[in-house]
Amino acid sequence: MSQLLSKLASSDKHGEASPYFDGWKAYDNNPYHPTHNPHGVIQMGLAENQLCSDLIKEWIRKNPQASICTAEGIDSFSDIAVFQDYHGLKQFRQAIAAFMERARGGRVSFEVERVVMSGGATGANETLMFCLADPGDAFLVPTPYYAAFDRDLRWRTGIRIIPVECNSSNNFQVTKQALESTYLKAQETGIKIKGLIIANPSNPLGTSLDRETLESLVSFINDKQIHLVCDEIYAATVFAEPKFISVAEIILEMVHVNRDLIHIVYSLSKDMGLPGFRVGVVYSYNDVVVSCARKMSSFGLVSSQIQSFVAAMLSDQRFVDNILVEVSKRVAKRHHMFTEGLEEMGISCLRSNAGLYVLMDLRQMLKDQTFESEIALWRVIINKVKINISPGSSFHCSEPGWFRVCFANMDEDTLQIGLERIKDFVLGDKASKNKNCNCICNNKRENKKRKSFQKNLKLSFSSMMYDEHVRSPKLMSPHSPLLRA
């Protein structure tokens, strides 16, 4: 049967047949609920922003005219219902451009005519690949990176991803040296590199790029005359220094850079917590790309109902200013709560200033520094500790032992319970280590800096039961990591 289908449909480049879905399955089969299922699996693998929906709901209640379906807004119904112009509603584009500007502190301005719609950031990233690269061409992507890039950038476009390895020795910052050597190696094997794509702030690192790094990235791509795609969908989640710096600001200063190479991806899914509304944006400084991406947006236009609603909401400057402050504040609070809680039990995280998650360092808990051990630990965390988190290998992290844990997709109480469970697990683990270890155990602070690993560490797994089957679900789990970041 499947030879009747295309190679695309029969391949697994969508990436969904990987073992990571067991975590999602565990959650689906046994989802936590404070009263109905207090021993269920807590979802901490979903990078969603649920922290500000109260503000949006309040705005909606006060602004019934923003909906075309209410008595106050129905006069616009028929005009909006027929509107399918791929340029998008002008007021929508104006509101998006203004929002993007405010999220960057007004330090840059965005042209309304360059705002192009897409089916979420998912659609935006794919569209840019279609515009910038032919099948077989490649894009450089610093690791660790968002798991679904494998699908979004490669599946239907036929392009290749060349990972640029980053490691914890410098907090996973991408270095000029890494870029140059990866580029060179690719060239030597005859691979045509068309550009570099980077998420800033990063998923899964939760860090935003500092000025020097951004400048050096821009210099690098300009030097090679390849494209730079900056996925800035977490821009408003930055809560500490360095303040968010958009590539848009950098090119204002670096006037010699070829602007035809610079493209931004944006979305309301993370900053505003509205992934269901599918609002993606391609913003390019290259006129041909704007024109092409706009035509391609036909394949994933933003529903006019949503355009009209978003136009109204984001033109309310007071609302926008307030929510941008609140997003940052509330993300900061959650971040502190979670990282401080982890610190108390001797677990450190990569130092971060943005994002809806942290990258937890569990290297000391691995049996050995291998990805097999990482997956083994991960299975224990899902099945025994009962929290769904994402192992670093799913983000192509070059070092085992890092796990991304989300903290903004549940209420505070649930997060607290998650922390408690981790604490029990970690302390239980430490207890068993103390029993089995023949070496001197490092204290909490040194654990953060230690370079050598305990050779005789053994985690006691005997009481833990986990299924070692790698099951590729026939029907996709609705909560798969490839649906959501």
Binding site: M1, S2, L4, L5, S6, K7, L8, A9, S10, H14, E48, Q50, I56, K57, I60, C69, T70, I74, F77, S78, A81, V82, Q84, G119, G120, T122, G123, C131, L132, A133, D134, P135, R156, Q225, L274, P275, G276, F277, R278, N286, V288, V289, C292, K295, M296, S298, F299, G300, L301, S303, S304, Q305, I306, F309, K474, L475, M476, P478, H479, L483
Partner: protein, 469 residues
């Protein structure tokens, strides 16, 4: 520019075609009853603007749907976060039922075989990605919707080979035309992966006959290829013969447990039937689980917004509404169709006899200077620039006979349609008629002036020669 992809720099998106140029002219000078009565009237847009009042009144009675509420409880947060590519179950159920209702409940659809996409545009492209590799071909009967050139070929790298249909038999798909198209593809070294039909047809406005559907099923069965039936106009069938979906024929011929069943896929949308193109609601229905699975994953690139899914799930679950809407919509479409046809007749212009769609396939071959596409474009330009009507020339739909035009009738008010028909009549009757009407127009103006000033002039009017009145 080697900097960009070939896709970005080619014109396979097809947007330099005449189909789109007419639109550009319209944009520069759009008709408005009051503000711009001499502007271009848009008759190139297959939109259904006839039945909004029905939806608006439903909304007025159902505020929950509008306000992110279910049984009075706010579900805003749920909707804001919902991005599951399996879609809202209540919406898929409602869509499956609605599709069934559109087919007189003669077939039923399983919501689990439905894939939601951002419009039929996305559905068609997605099916191509699932069924064809780069360089493979799909056979399409001509004339066909100009957007297919972009939707089916641009990013997928697939090819279209036409199945030539002619006015000799009302543009019906014949067995020999199918075979010829297949051979033509082979000559071009193209691997044929399937056939795509639009039923009811755009631009013809006709429903596919049972005979044609049987030919198609036999053909795809023999060649072991796919059939995509784009049925987005299924709710616009306003008169006999009724609509027969390929699904019904499969059922009637008891083919449900055969190979061919899995190779038939339907595309649907609410853009034409409900007149909601802005909401981007499309769907793929396939009996093949692999296709459903692959297409579902691909729908990530163009999901339907959760708010829209929720709104429409409540709308379409209201069976009173859907029944009434479908009936009333069809009555209104029929009336419009009749008005257009009689208006054209008055100008000595005939159409292909049709029973569906939002447009007519108009025969203006007798107005061509010569039986060529150059003459067709020349005529079309006159109609756009002088008569000020944007209609679609047959060549933009890949028709192989010059002189046919698609004229839409459901995207404007009745008054505007009348103005358009008057203009067309004026054009057809010739320049002398135009001059005559200009003189008449002037005379009436003077008459009005005279009436106002002095009743004596009225007496002198009656003394004038009869032919000058």
């Amino acid at each position: 520019m080697g900097l960009l992809s070939k896709k970005a720099t080619c014109n396979t998106h097809g947007q330099d075609s005449s189909y789109f140029l007419g639109w550009e002219e319209y944009e520069k000078n759009p008709y408005d009853e009051i503000k711009n009565p001499d502007g271009i009237i848009q008759m190139g847009l297959a939109e259904n603007q006839l039945s909004f009042d029905l939806i608006e009144s439903w909304l007025a009675k159902n505020p929950d749907a509008a306000n992110f509420k279910r049984e009075g409880q706010s579900i805003f947060r749920e909707l804001a976060l919902f991005q599951d590519y399996h879609g809202l179950p209540s919406f898929k159920n409602a869509m499956a039922d609605f599709m069934s209702e559109n087919r007189g409940n003669r077939v039923s659809f399983n919501p689990n075989k439905l894939v939601l996409t951002a419009g039929a545009t996305s559905a068609n492209e997605t099916l191509m990605f699932c069924l064809a590799d780069r360089g493979d071909a799909f056979l399409l009967p001509t004339p066909y919707y100009p957007g297919f050139d972009r939707d089916l070929k641009w990013r997928t790298g697939a090819e279209i080979v036409p199945i030539q249909c002619t006015s000799a038999n009302g543009f019906r798909i014949t067995k020999s035309a199918l075979e010829e198209a297949y051979e033509q593809a082979q000559k071009l070294n193209l691997k044929v992966k399937g056939v795509l039909i639009t039923n009811p047809s755009n631009p013809l406005g006709t429903t596919t006959t049972r005979t044609e559907l049987n030919h198609l099923l036999d053909f795809i069965s023999r060649k072991k290829i796919h059939l995509i039936s784009d049925e987005i106009y299924s709710g616009t069938v306003f008169t006999s013969p009724g609509f027969i979906s390929v699904m019904e024929v499969l059922k009637d011929r008891k083919l449900e447990n055969t190979d061919v069943f899995d190779r038939v896929h339907i595309v649907y949308s609410l853009s034409k039937d409900l007149g909601l193109p802005g909401f981007r609601v499309g769907a793929i229905y396939s009996n093949d689980d692999f296709v459903v699975s692959a297409a579902t994953k691909m729908s990530s690139f163009g999901l339907i917004s959760s708010q829209t899914q929720y709104l429409l799930s409540t709308l379409l679950s209201d069976k009173n509404f859907t029944k009434n809407y479908l009936e009333e919509n069809q009555i209104r479409l029929k009336n419009r169709y009749k008005k257009l046809v009689s208006g054209l007749e008055a100008a000595g212009i005939e159409c292909l006899k049709s029973n569906a769609g939002l447009f007519c396939w108009v025969d203006m071959r007798h107005l061509l200077k010569s039986n060529t596409f150059e003459a067709e474009i020349e005529l079309w330009k006159k109609i756009v620039y002088e008569v000020k009507l944007n209609i679609s020339p047959g060549s933009s739909c890949h028709c192989n006979e010059p002189g046919w035009f698609r004229v839409c009738f459901a995207n404007m008010s009745e008054e505007t349609l009348k103005v358009a028909l008057d203009r067309l009549k004026g054009f057809v009757d010739g320049p002398s008629s135009t001059r005559r009407s200009q003189i008449e127009h002037q005379r009436l103006k003077n008459l009005r002036k005279m009436k106002v000033s002095n009743w004596v002039f009225r007496l002198s009017f009656h003394d004038r020669e009869p032919e000058e009145r």
